[in-house]
């Protein structure tokens, strides 16, 4: 493995080399070479679009499963709020959380509780007027990494607080310590798995030991729902809402919030921000998945159904009192408990060379090469579009003849040349039969 950890991987034996994933990838991180998809590690943001779109299920998320619990004498589950949207409307929260204990966890720290706190902290931050506007949510790691690659100039707009998952992990470590205790996130997506294994805004001993997909334990949870010992939920509707698009926006009070979901929609909004054209927005809730985390590619429920169920779950929790008062949180806000420990830095992987002179020369060369390509963006060459092929050619990763139209031209040219050569051949020598016929006639 290189410098980047990735949860999203390719199962080569299942890959048929089609063009679905290369076309859908928001950072053009995939190529098809020798009939198989190849992921360019530096560019991949683990958003999971390729997992969703692959008809052959050749893209997978590498994750932990329940066997990870055996490595620790004691285990804590950190369920994503989206988990609550996976079961029927009438399944109550206490039984859902209780089912986690039945699976072998010793305790539960709801990420929604951390989301309750983070909501308040962000609300206070926005009211303080600090930082550039619009402030951008740090919650979705796929969006954060997308920004590192494609919108580096907006990284300063990301709120300087860790997202709920990391805060829940900090809470768990405060209560249970390190060492003998395994802390595991129950994840809706590969982006969070990568965030567990390789955080971007935190340096120090990893706070989480495992990331287990919702889809990996869903069946086992279903079996245990009825017999589960209820676990008293502590999150309020504010925190639970973070599991769906729009919920985070509702939780941020006193500011105008724009909510956007689906990674290609997120890109469109970030482009607006970059152009300085978005006015009157204090905060952007941006989620890579359609519907928000309930639409994560490691969930089971249909995202739209999941959203409705989660909304319902949030309303059921509306009477609950938050674990910490806003005064207590204001005190915590003054400490560094919620802060990111390192700045998020750009990942300049789009540039063609580290030497600007060379990069400029390559940009020119690329434009020239692109002019010669048909501009159909068919993807048959294995690059997502003609421009990307031009880039790959300039970078020495592909050749012009990877373009099937260029290849056809070349074959046609060769065939014509052959015909031309054939025409210039000396007339054939008469065959022996013909010579014999001629002899008889003579005789």
């Amino acid at each position: 493995m290189g410098a980047y950890y990735h949860s999203v991987r390719l199962l080569e034996e299942k890959c048929k080399g089609c063009t679905n994933c290369i076309k859908r990838c928001p950072t053009e991180a995939i190529r098809v070479r020798q009939g198989k998809a190849v992921i360019i590690e530096e560019r991949c943001v683990d958003c999971g679009e390729c997992i969703r779109v692959c008809p052959n299920h050749a893209k997978v998320a590498v994750a932990d499963d329940l066997t990870v619990l055996k490595s620790f004498p004691k285990n804590i589950a950190l369920p994503a709020p989206a988990l609550l949207g996976q079961f029927g409307r009438s399944t109550d929260e206490a039984h859902i959380l209780g089912a986690l204990l039945e699976l072998g966890f010793d305790d539960v720290v709801e990420v929604a509780v951390a989301a309750d706190m983070v909501s308040e902290v962000i609300s206070q931050y926005l009211q303080s007027g600090k930082g550039p506007r619009p402030a951008i949510s740090s919650a979705c790691p796929a969006v954060v990494r997308l920004m590192q690659v494609r919108f580096p100039s907006l990284l300063d707009n990301i709120v300087p607080f860790e997202p709920p998952m990391e805060i829940a992990a900090r809470l768990a470590r405060e209560s249970f310590g390190f060492g003998e205790v395994g802390v595991h996130f129950i994840t809706p997506c590969p982006a969070k798995i990568t965030a567990v294994k390789q955080p971007v805004s935190y340096k120090g001993p990893l706070l989480l030991d495992g990331a287990i997909p919702i889809s990996a334990i869903y069946g086992e949870m279903m079996k245990r729902l009825n017999s589960a010992r209820p676990f008293t939920p502590r999150a309020t509707s504010r925190g639970i809402g973070w599991g769906r698009s729009g919920g985070e926006g509702l939780a941020i009070q006193g500011s105008s919030v724009l909510s956007v979901d689906g990674i290609h929609n997120v890109i469109a909004v970030l482009e607006e921000v970059e152009r300085g054209r978005l006015s009157g927005v204090d905060y952007i809730e941006a989620q890579a998945c359609t519907g928000g985390c309930v639409g994560g590619c490691l969930t089971v429920q249909n995202p739209f159904v999941g959203r409705t169920i989660l909304k319902h779950k949030a309303s059921e929790a509306s009477g609950r009192k938050a674990l910490l008062s806003s005064e207590a949180l204001a005190d915590m806000y003054r400490t560094s408990f919620f802060d990111m420990s390192v700045k998020i830095t750009p990942r300049p992987v789009m540039r063609l060379d580290t030497d600007i002179k060379v990069a400029l020369a390559k940009v020119n060369q690329m434009e020239q090469v692109a002019k010669e390509l048909p501009g159909l963006d068919c993807g048959a060459c294995g690059s997502p579009n003609c421009k990307a092929l031009a880039e790959d050619i300039v970078q020495g990763r592909a050749s012009e003849l990877d373009c099937i139209f260029k290849l056809r031209e070349k074959v046609q040219g060769l065939a014509e040349a052959m015909v031309e050569v054939a025409r210039q051949l000396p007339p054939p020598v008469a065959s022996r039969a013909e010579t014999e016929k001629g002899e008889r006639r003579d005789g």
């Binding site: 494609r150 580096p152 100039s153 907006l154 990284l155 482009e271 970059e274 152009r275 300085g276 054209r277 006015s279 750009p346 300049p348 789009m350 540039r351 063609l352 060379d353 580290t354 600007i356 002179k357 990069a359 400029l360 390559k362 940009v363 690329m366 880039e391």
Partner: protein, 127 residues
Amino acid sequence: MEFNTAGDAASKIKEVLQKSGMEPTLVRRATIVSFELELNIIIHAYFGRLRAVIKENCLEIAAKDRGPGIPDIELAMQEGYSTAPPFVKEMGFGAGMGLPNIKKNSDILVVRSRCGAGTFVYSLLKR
């Protein structure tokens, strides 16, 4: 007015700058300048061209159009001055912030215009 292609030129300039390895802040400034110039052509002129020249230590963006021209450039440079029609304002443009923002993000800015002929804007951004 071709609003459905608005931003295409600015996007292309951004992409090329990123591929060249220009610093994020320069890319951001260039994006703002080129987008505003592009929009001004679409909204206020008949047709025009946007050209960007990338050099090692700077970037030049030039916009040239055929259009009504700007009668009073000094006035047009003021924040809030706009002659954009109401429906453009409804779309969130026409706040009279384009040229001032272009100025804020340029190191050198030249605006020339001839009434009834067209407008030429040159912006230089240092790295």
